[in-house]
């Protein structure tokens, strides 16, 4: 984060009649931050993007997008400063890549359209396919064209809605690399996804949404907030009296057996507990096979928060 909020959302709510799309959502995103917006299908991720992109009006709450308050009169000004890549590329399939980008360069009012289009195509490695009709491109290449289109206007905030949905692993990796490249260039990115490894790899912070915002923070902080730290110990033969071995060691809050010769220790500080446990095991004559911290993934965090909604 490089100071100041690129996007600020305060108690934003959208309802369609009786149905709540998302409710009471508040967060801030800093300039140059890659912000992941996670949630199951129907959680309200796309509706949030569309609301912040002025495509649909919020029911209540407020937001400031790229420095512009989100009001009905400011739609054009907000859209001038942002770019949205929807889940479906939405390209004109009968038109060439160049014709598609040329149209959007004019819609965004960019100066020097040929130069800007060339830079966008270079950014997504598509210069050699510029004259091909979009209908002849693979799904992965179409996604790249859509990303080039989103980059044309040099947006202050780039909204990417499920950019790798439906892509094979190779095409998804290509898109990840492109997003990584944008992050290095300091582009503020709002990324909605339900690919957790994608969010963990790309995002500085993530928010987990399931109609309401469940948690927000760095993936590692969310892990620490939701799960106690644990140490996994594996030895060759079971300890005769594990309670005596682990009792009184620093930073150990409790332990339980995990398999015939495995132990899971709840610890407050891994860096203190791990050496102490190792020394105690050696002193007790145990053959230590491994002592390591149990790594909780973002998926564990996500499942704990989302499955709790039942």
């Amino acid at each position: 984060m490089t100071g100041g909020a690129a996007l600020s959302v305060d108690q934003l709510t959208k309802r369609f009649g009786d149905r709540v799309a998302f409710e009471d959502v508040s967060f801030e995103i800093g300039h140059g931050e890659v912000f992941g917006f996670l949630g199951p299908n129907g959680a309200g991720k796309t509706t949030t993007v569309r609301t912040l992109g002025t495509l649909i009006a919020p029911t209540s709450g407020s937001a400031v997008v790229a420095g512009i308050p989100l009001t009905p009169d400011n739609g054009e000004e907000v859209r001038r400063r942002i770019s949205i890549m929807p889940e479906s590329p939405g390209l004109y399939l009968r038109l060439s890549v160049l014709e598609n980008l040329g149209c959007f360069a004019d819609l965004y009012g960019v100066s020097d359209p040929p130069g800007r289009i060339d830079r966008a195509l270079r950014a997504v490695n598509l210069v050699d396919r510029a004259r091909d009709a979009c209908g002849t491109l693979s799904k992965g290449l179409r996604q790249r064209v859509a990303l080039a289109r989103a980059l044309l206007s040099d947006p202050e905030i780039l909204f990417l809605d499920e950019p790798t949905a439906g892509l094979d692993p190779v095409a998804a990796r290509d898109v990840h690399e492109l997003i990584d490249g944008l992050r290095r260039r300091g582009v503020t990115i709002f990324l909605t996804t339900h690919r957790l490894e994608e969010a963990e790899r790309l995002c500085d912070r993530v928010a987990i949404l399931n109609t309401t915002l469940r948690r927000i923070g760095r993936p590692s902080d969310l892990r620490d907030q939701l799960f106690s730290k644990t140490l996994l110990v594996t030895i060759r033969t079971p300890l005769r009296d594990p309670g005596r071995v682990f009792a009184g060691l620093p930073a150990i809050d409790g332990w339980q057996q995990d398999g015939p010769a495995g132990y899971v220790l709840a610890v407050s500080d891994v860096t203190v507990a791990a050496p102490a446990v190792t020394r105690a095991l050696v002193a007790a004559g145990a053959d230590v096979l491994s002592v390591g911290e149990a790594r909780r993934s973002l998926e564990d965090v996500y499942l704990k928060l989302v499955e709790g909604d039942g």
Binding site: F16, G17, T47, R50, G53, L55, I56, A57, E76, E77, R79, R80, S83, I84, P86, S88, P89, G90, L91, Y92, L93, R94, L95, E99, G102, C103, F104, D106, L107, Y108, G109, A146, R149
Partner: protein
């Protein structure tokens, strides 16, 4: 309200590029004028000199005004719902473009080829009459007043037909349904021009002036109506 011409031009150019490569649309735009001009041509070729006298008091060629009333409805009906079905509408709506600019670009893209087709068909019709009809029949049919009426009413009828069909297109959820309703909506215009051609309504200069004023008002009203009813949220989410 200021209109950004570059954005209007971008939509106009993109629409024309798409039309050119959409074979079914080109075929649709070509079939209607052929249907509306072949039968009258055959009839005209069979007329003899004796038939020319009553023709001097009729305005048979106003029948061809059905072309600018019908052809643009095919294109206009596709314009919004077609993009919606292709998934291309949302990316366009995420740009700074205003709804008035989008609609104007789409309307112009439907207007220009429709009017060109109508004028070309009318010109070819007159050429065939001049070359192949009995001279007395040709003289009776080709009159400056009818020519002027064709020139003036072609764009006015095309414009009204376009606004109606774009309005239908922005409310419909399926291209075919939109095209059927748009064709139905153009029937009143076709009925009036046909009744004029058949002399069931007597064509006159005052009536023409009233017609021009009414169509100008309808075109103005059409743009306002379509702009006011163009709802980004409903088009994107299908609700509201």
């Amino acid at each position: 309200m200021s209109i950004n011409r570059r954005r209007v031009r971008a939509i106009f150019r993109k629409e024309l590029q798409e039309f050119r490569r959409n074979r079914s649309l080109v075929v649709g735009m070509s079939i209607v004028p052929v249907i509306f001009s072949i039968q009258p041509l055959i009839t005209v070729f069979t007329l003899n000199t004796a038939a020319s006298a009553p023709l001097r008091h009729e305005h048979v060629l106003l029948y061809l005004l059905a072309i600018p009333a019908l052809v643009p409805s095919l294109v206009g009906a596709y314009s919004v719902v077609g993009e919606r079905q292709q998934g291309t509408l949302e990316p366009v709506l995420t740009t700074p473009i205003r709804r008035e600019e989008l609609l104007l670009g789409k309307a112009l893209a439907a207007f220009v080829p429709s009017v060109v087709v109508a004028y070309v068909v009318y010109g070819l019709f007159l050429l065939c009459v001049e070359l192949f009809a009995v001279p007395a029949v040709a003289t009776a049919l080709i009159r400056p007043s009818d020519l002027l009426a064709q020139l003036v009413f072609t764009p006015l009828l095309a414009g009204w037909s376009i606004w109606l069909s774009i309005f239908i297109s922005s409310r419909a959820s399926d291209v075919r349904v939109a095209q059927q309703f748009a064709t139905l909506a153009s029937l009143p215009s076709i009925a009036v021009t046909t009744l004029l051609a058949l002399n069931a309504i007597t064509a006159s200069f005052p009536l023409a002036v009233v017609g021009v004023v009414v169509l100008l008002l309808l075109n103005r009203l059409g743009w306002r109506l379509v702009s006011a009813s163009f709802d980004r949220e409903r088009l994107i989410t299908g609700t509201r």
